[in-house]
Symmetry: none
Subunit: 217 residues, 4 copies
DNA sequence: TATGAATGAGCTTTCATTCAT
DNA sequence: AATGAATGAAAGCTCATTCAT
């Protein structure tokens, strides 16, 4: 009795799981190829081949190539956006330590290939997908600036930081991270010189905290 | 007699000039369109239409679309490379002033649309044109870092700057410029918030010179 | 005991009814869509959606799309063919009245959407389905002509009609009906001018009975 | 001197001639195939093969398949429309003779394959190309009715015809022609029975002039 | 019996490239 | 040197049909 009613539900649920998996496989394959060749040069045939499905199957999951790109971006952006949701952690020590800790932690997260390559993709395709560029501006860049601004403002309020415009300081603190994200998956792979982003970030923070001009104290 | 000999030369010269002009018109048209739509989405038909020549003519000047892109990039990169040829100016004042002056001057030059948009193009098409990415790394990025390194090193030698690794300091000083170049022609056009690169550069230099942590002196 | 035997029969009967209903639903949906978009432009997906069944189910009832079309036509042609089975009614009055009555009655029946739109469909798809065109010729047109011929022949025998070839007279009498059937579901829906088929048929019969040239009697 | 100026003109003119020929070849090939298989079932590949050009060439002459169909129809409709431009000829005899002459002449013209098959095509594709159906209604059907109406009205005015509504008489007179046009290229090719449209038209006119009911005069 | 996800051949359309003029 | 009509390989997308469930 129960069986007759639950059977279709189970079937549907299993299908749903399968459908979701297929979709993710397509998105993953597409991300790799978009990253590798850019939007226009990526052939749908390659995407479906890499995802292990047929051409027709693709159109069961996405209305067209454009939507695929949009979905790839939005899906992978979610992670980056999540980071900007973090509150400033409870921290009783010096604001410099908080900042150091926060910035290098940030880099560790956004340096993940899927996160940083999406940033580069958006930069590359901004002309063709303006709404994605706008989305990235609002939901990632602006929110990140606001978050770092808060930390800087806290530092100023506690007398740990000099009285500087928190927004432009935040922008300054984030600029090497954004640059690294973009270059990591474009220019740097073709760079002979070994370059270690982590240590660069560390020395950057050190530099910005204490300044280039020596102190007398 | 003399005339008979020089006439063809003059004619050839005029042709040469015409030929060169055609080439430049094609390069200019291509730059605009590559910038607008990216390499793959730019149709040769649109390039020749904008340059005011026929499709066939294009192939008298370039072997194919790929070469066109390469030429567009190399041609416009020349300017940026020129900047890295500059010697450190004779300057007897404080190294901080030299640096301030140098960095903001640099920005003024590379913020020119043709210069900054080429950087973004290279980032966008690095996957398809690795040799251009490598070229940019070597001929622009590395040379710029070296140049700024020298200034920092000079400052350290004169006791104007703290004893820091000049290379990573240079990287730090250049990172907002590189980021601005890339974002100026991709993300920022779709940004609501007014953002003034010049004043950002200024406050960035100020911040990096004196540091975020207040001084006791 | 008896029950045990009849029960499965009843069940089967219900299934049969259900099965038949499904088939009819598919045929009805298909007719609507074929009429609307033609054979080639009608997607099976739309047919099954309109019939409320799944794609796979369709193939339990029809071997393929071609057969579906054939079945739609044959099913709906049955009605038109039925009309040609009618005997000439017993009628003792003037043959002109019989003809008038018969022709306008005929139009009333074949003007039903399902009947007339099938005629237009066959005309439209004759190139792709020649056997249906031949079928229509034989089973509908020829039989109709024969039927009307009989009425005309009767009229001639009774001295009610002039001595004319009954077959070509029948063709003449049927031609506006065939034309109306075809145009009703193709050209006329896009006609601004109001056009009333019924009154046209009436005046057509009047005209053909008494002639365009005035009589002296 | 002259040569330098006229050469490009000549070249352009020759090209123009070639271009026009190509266009006509494509239209002719398309007409044949649309007539044979209908719009949707006609593959562009077959059209270009029959016209002897490549796939790409097609798109130099037409923006897409839809436009091709529209052009095929409009181009070939021009002829049919031309007929409706004819004035009623000067004729001093009996209006019955004028009508007889006019109608059978009309049929001779519209029975040309290109003219009649276009009518059938419009009927078949009216659902997909409503604007063509409307165009045909206005520019062909309505004008034809008006033209024949004038002849009938003339006959009534001269006492040659009975006082009947000229419009419905015209419709009645044209209906077998329209029916023949449509059926000639759809149903009749699959008809066993020999059927001669010309003699049918003749007997139709005779019938309609003198009427089915015998005269006493 | 019924489902609907999956297929892939085949369609329309695009565009870098060629070549006769 | 310059043209632009012509090409055809390859792309995105559709849809009748199949099949595991």
């Amino acid at each position: 009795m129960n069986q007759r009613k639950t059977l279709p539900v189970l079937v549907k649920a299993r299908w749903q799981r399968r459908k979701n998996a297929r979709r993710q496989e397509l998105l993953a394959a597409a991300l790799e190829l978009f990253e590798e060749k850019g939007y226009a040069s990526t052939r749908l045939e390659d995407v479906v081949k890499r995802a292990g499905v047929s051409k027709g199957t693709f159109y069961l999951y996405f209305v067209n190539k454009e939507e695929l790109f949009t979905m790839v971006v939005r899906e992978n952006l979610a992670e980056a956006i999540e980071y900007t949701r973090d509150d400033i952690p409870e921290f009783s020590g010096h604001s410099a330590d908080l900042l150091r800790c926060f910035i290098s932690g940030w880099w560790q997260r956004v340096s993940a290939p899927r996160v940083s390559s999406i940033a580069r993709l958006i930069v590359a395709e901004a002309g063709s997908f303006p709404e994605l560029a706008a989305f990235y501006n609002e939901e990632v860049l602006e929110r990140s600036v606001k978050l770092v601004s808060n930390i800087v403002a806290r530092g100023i309020a506690q007398g740990h930081f000099t009285s500087i415009g928190p927004a432009s300081a935040a922008q300054a603190l984030l600029s090497p991270i954004l640059m690294l994200m973009i270059c990591k998956s474009s220019l740097y792979p073709y760079n002979d010189r070994a370059f270690d982003p982590e240590s660069f970030i560390d020395s950057f923070i050190a530099l910005i905290l204490s300044g280039l001009v020596p102190r007398n104290d």
